[in-house]
Symmetry: C2
Subunit: 401 residues, 2 copies
């Protein structure tokens, strides 16, 4: 598969602090970050923040940071603001800033969703619910701007107005405003609060329904930055054919595509007759050696296909460790924190095969041609360094200091 | 079922030509047309126009006119303009005017569709195809304005860009522009050419796909006057439950609903495994006595449900006589022109049960309270008459001359 769009080749002139070309020198070229967003649920950083020096979470999050440069933090309204007017801002801000300090881009998930919604909203009429929804968006998007500039703005709208498992405030307002009407109102507010934010529409429905919904939104002027596609594969790997078919259909809009919630499990797969994954409640769902080998192979194939697609900008695995959502063996690490084959496979892809660590030698005028994977770089020679973002073909002058 | 929204009660003062109240007189109240559009495919009027005094078509169209006040005429591009630049305008205009003279409202069907499309379009690039599509809309919508002011503007868009039975010009441009983008371009043109026209979006897909498509279009400002729903039931009657469920879902937009293409057959039903009805090609598809009884019952139930729904403004039966589309026994009359039980049933509904023919007596000041089904009326006494549209509760002064 062609992944040349993930790479750059660039002519760089290296100079010293006095402006003289650094001629005939070996320059170390060390990648420090990817342009591509290799993401994972970062929920485990929250207990670390709460518990301080807890060994289990320290080790867990360190192995997380050894692969990922992008994390999703939970802003489920029903958990974030259990009691009206008392949001969990402090913990979330601390966690987000911790990740930011580790060079990890953070996404908030989600601003509007009918599930894990705040029950206390249901005592209000629809007009008030919508008003409070917009105020919440202002509070979170404005309040976290600069720390979190990427949001799953509205989640699972295809099913939202017909969701009938239980009454909730968001289904009520979606019924009243219609899907596109609600999306537009919600996105417009988020965009107004942080015009630089990356704003995602996100859904598990990858059918023609979602295509038509996106089409309608874009024609109605909804400021969608990227299309979010969930791919929880508890019932078995989609396989190359379905994955490529989904990519082809959602590419037609020309927007960036984010795989926002990816799951592949390393145990028995969930029976096919389950329609809502949440209906599969089990006490034990063991990871198995054969399952772990299969999971690693499937994740590898999937990441290779997605990395090769020019419009895909991000892949987020939903669970870092086993036993999170649905108690599934869905992680890169087992419950005890030990690493599965999938962990080692992905780390090798992200930090070795798709990672650049090389050196070049400058000519008599200080020029060298540098090639590598797009991202952040440390360039150095004789104890002098520079940090540069290397993502395109343009010529560059770099001063090592 | 409540059908009071189809009726009016009105206080009318009757006066003579000199302005004196007509006191203590019996006034004949005779309905001459319905506000509701009872429609049918009017294709059989075209051979009548071509053949002149042909007995078969004369009798056929006369029995048509005994029930219907609304007809659909074919503007399939591939038939209407078999050779580029040579449209069948003369025949269509003659037929439409004939119907108009008979007090029948005419709808043109369709302005844009991927099926029965003009093959000669395929030699052009997409930009030219779209240009010719818009020119055709201008030619037909402007050219027939005043005679045809109602159009199925664009047909079956849910499947349009993924239609893969054969290559065609419209699927090509729909793929390129997207569903909502093409709909908007096409509707904007039709609206520009006749701002007073009733413009329909029409589809056989009644799933959530079509709901989301309409939602997107309305939010994108597409000037849709009414939602068109096809209901070809060659594979069996939907039944009350499905019909009410469809009505409920498509009512949420608050727009008028037209059942644009209704079929119920009076023979064996088509097997359920057929996905595209066009794939069922049979030489003979007989009407049967039991089938005819069943058809009449099903049509009756359906019309009663639709007539009772406040947003439904029109029902069009697709085939007037058996052996038209798919050679199906789908008509109100058999191939020989004889009337089926469904014909008699519907004529009784439309021209008797839901029809007003009564008289009232005025008081000493010429006032009388008139009730009836909304529509056009002839009011008369002692050889003096007036024609009035009676559709609301407001008071009215009528001068009989």
């Amino acid at each position: 598969m062609d992944i040349s769009h993930r790479q750059f080749t660039k002519k760089i002139q290296f100079k010293d602090a006095l402006g003289n070309p650094i001629a005939g020198k070996a320059i170390r070229v060390e990648q420090t970050n990817h342009s591509f967003l290799f993401g994972c649920g970062a929920f485990d950083f929250m207990p670390l923040m709460m518990k301080g020096d807890d060994d289990y979470y320290k080790q867990l999050t360190e192995s997380w940071l050894d692969i990922f440069n992008y994390g999703t933090l939970p802003f489920y309204w029903g958990n974030y603001e259990r009691e009206e007017g008392k949001p969990e801002k402090e913990l979330l801000m601390k966690t987000a800033k911790y990740l930011q300090d580790k060079n990890v881009k953070v996404k908030g998930h989600p601003l509007c969703w009918h599930t894990v919604c705040a029950d206390w909203l249901m005592k209000y009429d629809n007009e008030t619910i919508l008003k409070k929804q917009l105020e919440r968006i202002d509070r979170e998007v404005t309040g976290f701007a600069g720390v979190i500039d990427m949001w799953d703005v509205i989640n699972e709208v295809v099913i939202m107005p017909i969701f009938d498992k239980y009454d909730n405030a968001i289904t009520r307002i979606c019924k009243e405003k219609g899907r596109v009407g609600l999306i537009k109102t919600i996105f417009d507010k988020a965009h107004e609060c942080n015009p630089n934010a990356t704003l995602l529409l996100n859904d598990f429905n990858t059918s023609i329904n979602y295509e038509i919904l996106i089409d309608g939104c874009l024609n109605a002027g909804v400021p969608i930055s990227a299309i979010g596609i969930q791919s929880h594969q508890h019932q078995g790997y989609w396989g190359r054919e379905k994955l490529e078919e989904v990519l082809e259909r959602f590419s037609s809009f020309g927007l960036p595509i984010h795989f926002t919630e990816n799951t592949l499990i390393s145990g028995e797969i969930m029976p096919a007759h389950i329609v809502d994954l949440n209906d599969w409640q089990v006490d034990e769902w063991p990871t198995t050696p054969e399952g772990e080998e299969r999971q690693a192979k499937e994740i590898e194939e999937m990441y290779r296909i997605l990395f090769a697609h020019p419009l895909v900008e991000a892949i987020t695995t939903w669970d870092f460790k086993d036993g999170a959502w649905l108690n599934a063996p869905s992680g890169y690490v087992r419950k005890d924190g030990s690493q599965k084959p999938s962990y080692k496979m992905l780390k090798n892809l992200v930090r070795n095969e798709w990672w650049t660590n090389t050196s070049v030698t400058t000519d008599e005028n200080g020029f060298a041609t540098v090639s590598g994977f797009k991202g952040e770089y440390k360039l150095s020679a004789d104890g002098l360094t520079a940090s540069e973002s290397l993502t395109d073909e343009g010529e560059l002058v770099v001063t090592l200091k």
